[in-house]
Symmetry: C2
Subunit: 278 residues, 2 copies
DNA sequence: TACGCTCTATTGTCAGACAATATTGCTTTC
DNA sequence: GAAAGCAATATTGTCTGACAATAGAGCGTA
């Protein structure tokens, strides 16, 4: 990687891509020990928000462009800057740009044709249930709406998933569910608790016996990530929530689909209240 | 593209990638008018199954590798052949291979690290709700199971989506739904009818007012694609199905969520029977 | 006006080089 | 002999520069 590529990727996070760029043309003498961050000009704001320290250039680039698209910088139908332009803007090679674009094409955010360029696909084609796209989508102007949408979706999915789990879970899957439930109760920190909570719900999806429900786990993960902000929960509330989870666990264990469904509905109603009361 | 690249892509469809390859090293004189298909050795079976005539090399490659992974040729955890190997196997450049792999990484089928290589991700991480992955998945050994899974999923999603649509549809969205319903009735061919049918269900998802439901349309499309085989339907059955659709349309129009939900359930039950009776 | 030609901008594909990385096995040391 | 550090090595990551294929745009001609 050219020494200042990552830096450029950072500094251009917010101010759009139109900014003039010093050092646009190749540095012939590949400088040995990157003084990149040292020689960054002071005026450029260095955003740490979407910084991905260990990530490769094309991955970072894909995140950057993907975020811009989802955010609405380039509305559907817009022709994006061409590959050479991106390459110049971020001081990365065209190959890196292409690999980034290929990733976005795989998520149906983009499509392209020779001589035309790359354009943003209509929103309906976006694969919103993709982990990355969802993450970009979640950074939208107001999280409130996003959270509401995800929560509504959970109401559709999770009760039925639990009912199926009650009917079809194997002993192994049951053990996973039970363990996650137990670990929720025993968790020392709230973060640890949230992780166990996530595992609990994902395990139920897996136990539902429908392969297509499993990928929806990303939604739950995303929901918990953003619900984590609503961290101000009283202890007795936590106890109550734990009881609700245990009720679900019990009804799946006893193979009572209807009761399991009802128990999940109760839990979701509780979560609704937590969100609403904010 | 090297003249015989596409041909190699084809001929290697089934026989795995271990086969010896003539013409592995670059042809210096870029031959002007590809005699590719002419000089293909007779023994190699040329599969037309997953042939994508207009597609680019990296897209075809991604389909080929993706299909193999989903099909189970490389179980999760397996380290794939390295980039150079793929490149040699299919007589394409390493860049093309990389772009293909990047696309599969974007779908969470793969991950990679330097010095290790690329490996197949655990199945739970696969984005099964992705259009391509779903298509590959649908070519699995027995379609029966796939169809059953999708149909079950529709039972979870569509009744609720319709209920929401009944509550929140705009006039424009209603018009879309009604038009699709009408065109179903007036369709001349069965294919035309199926297309209208698909549009009908997708329009309902859009009208539900929940952005996350829209991407699930790929499932419906896929279901109809594969249901299309069950094409032996009597005329009076078609009439009955049309009535069921009209009931849905009516209840959404009259903004009756519960009735809309019930109407969808009825339609799905009918579809269940069609599938079962095969 | 309609058709067809050329021009040209953009993605698609190729080739070859070097960098970064982390496993593997070797070597050293205790 | 075991543990720790070190070097060798295989693989992906990145860059560069070239040419091919494609299809829109503009022009000229019938």
């Amino acid at each position: 990687m050219r020494p200042n590529a990552r830096a450029a990727l950072d500094s251009f996070r917010k101010p759009a891509f139109l900014k003039p760029m010093r050092d646009a043309k190749p540095n012939k003498e590949r400088s040995p020990k990157k003084p990149a961050s040292a020689e960054r000009q002071p005026g450029v704001r260095r955003s740490d928000a979407a910084r991905i320290p260990g990530a490769s250039v094309h991955t970072s680039l894909a995140s950057e462009i993907g975020l811009r698209i989802v955010r609405g910088d380039y509305p559907p139908g817009t022709i994006l800057p061409n590959e050479a332009k991106w390459s110049e803007t971020f001081s990365v090679s065209r190959s890196a740009v292409r690999e980034a674009i290929k990733m976005l094409m795989a998520k149906s955010l983009l499509a392209s044709r020779p001589k035309i360029g790359s354009w943003v696909e209509p929103k309906e084609r976006w694969n919103l249930l993709d982990r990355d796209v969802l993450a970009w989508y979640a950074t939208s102007p107001d999280r409130e709406v996003f959270l509401k949408t995800v929560q509504e979706f959970r109401h559709i999915i999770e009760p039925e998933a639990s009912a199926f789990a009650a009917m079809r879970r194997t002993e192994e899957q049951m053990a996973e569910i039970s363990q996650a439930c137990r670990e929720m109760g025993e968790a020392a920190s709230l973060q640890e608790r949230t992780r166990a909570d996530t595992r609990f719900h994902l395990a139920i999806l897996r136990a539902s016996g429908n392969d297509l429900l499993v990928p929806l786990g990303v939604l739950i993960e995303s929901a918990f990530d953003h619900l984590f902000t609503f961290t101000t929960r009283a202890v007795d509330d936590l106890n109550h929530v734990q009881k609700l989870h245990e009720a679900i666990e019990k009804n799946i264990r006893l193979q009572r689909p209807d009761a399991a469904r009802a128990a999940v509905r109760k839990l979701l109603a509780n979560t609704d209240n937590v969100i609403k009361s904010r």
